[in-house]
């Protein structure tokens, strides 16, 4: 078979990728919205403060950022040290207590990932993500 140039080959590959992508789109059709992002489980600093003391703060940032400063009482739990830190967090958690996970910046996915794993792997309910993360907390003190 005579081979085409990079453009022609590229077009073939671009078209080939459509087929499985289409199949996956159909498979996920009832689980994803095309009009808006999934319902967020985010909570603002003001909302978190209004909950009083019944919160377990979870810091999903890297250990060095946690060491440099964190929300008072927060426990470190990030994906990197998940196996060693999760038991510590679970020991500190009181059943029924709300858990709020935060990370570095508004758009960072680390807190969302940790929150997901707490729900899926540790079977915890009432897990929220702090909107705006650590920066929003710092900003709220000004």
């Amino acid at each position: 078979m005579r081979r085409g140039g990079p453009i022609r080959e590229g077009l073939v590959l671009l078209c080939l990728a459509f087929l499985p992508a289409l199949g996956e789109t159909i498979y996920w059709r009832n689980q994803m919205s095309w009009s808006h992002p999934p319902v967020q489980d985010e909570i603002t600093v003001a909302q978190a403060r209004s909950l009083g003391g019944s919160i377990l703060w979870v810091d999903a940032r890297p250990a060095e950022e946690f060491a440099a400063g964190h929300i008072p009482g927060a426990l470190l739990l990030n994906a990197e040290q998940w196996d060693s830190l999760l038991p510590v967090m679970l020991n500190a958690w009181i059943p029924g207590q709300k858990i709020i996970v935060y990370c570095g910046k508004q758009s960072c996915g680390a807190s969302r990932e940790v929150a997901r794993r707490l729900r899926d792997e540790a079977n915890l309910a009432n897990v929220f993500v702090l909107e705006g993360g650590w920066e929003a907390w710092e900003e709220s003190k000004k």
Partner: protein, 146 residues
């Protein structure tokens, strides 16, 4: 060992590395399009519907290009697409960083989320260089053989 043999080994090694990287990245994202849609949405560049469409399409494009590299079929088409993809990703990452957005949320699963921006950028740059080398060295070898 002849220079051409050394070049051939280098190209072979780079080809396997690049193919494995994109296969891994593609498979990781194919399994969770919701998360990948959110990751794309985090760049605050595209509307949600486009982010969803890309979340379904791009991982398969990466996988197909990875397979093409492994099998050495549609080789230069795959290299060209991957070169464009990684370049766009680097531009989007730098642009997001300049706008104050944390893009530590990577495309290589959980572990990459804990890498800082500089490390991310260095890895992406290394990948860009590797793909560019595949293109340039491969072309030169083909010309030398012709």
């Amino acid at each position: 060992m002849k220079t051409s043999q050394v070049k051939s080994w280098i190209v072979g090694l780079l080809r396997l590395l690049v193919a494995a990287t994109f296969l891994y990245a593609g498979v990781i994202k194919v399994t969770n399009p919701i998360r990948f849609s959110r990751d794309i949405n985090n760049y605050h560049v595209l509307p949600w519907s486009v982010a969803v469409a890309l979340a379904f399409y791009l991982p398969w494009l990466e996988i197909i290009c990875g397979v093409a590299l492994l099998l050495r079929r549609f080789y230069y088409g795959a290299v060209a697409i991957l070169l464009i993809l990684i370049s766009l990703f680097i531009i989007a990452s730098v642009s997001a960083k300049l706008r104050g957005i944390d893009v530590s949320c990577g495309c290589f699963g959980g572990p990459s989320r804990n890498l800082n921006f500089a490390t991310h950028l260095a890895l992406d740059a290394a990948l860009l260089v590797a793909i560019a080398a595949l293109w340039l060295i491969g072309r030169r070898m083909r010309l030398e053989r012709a």
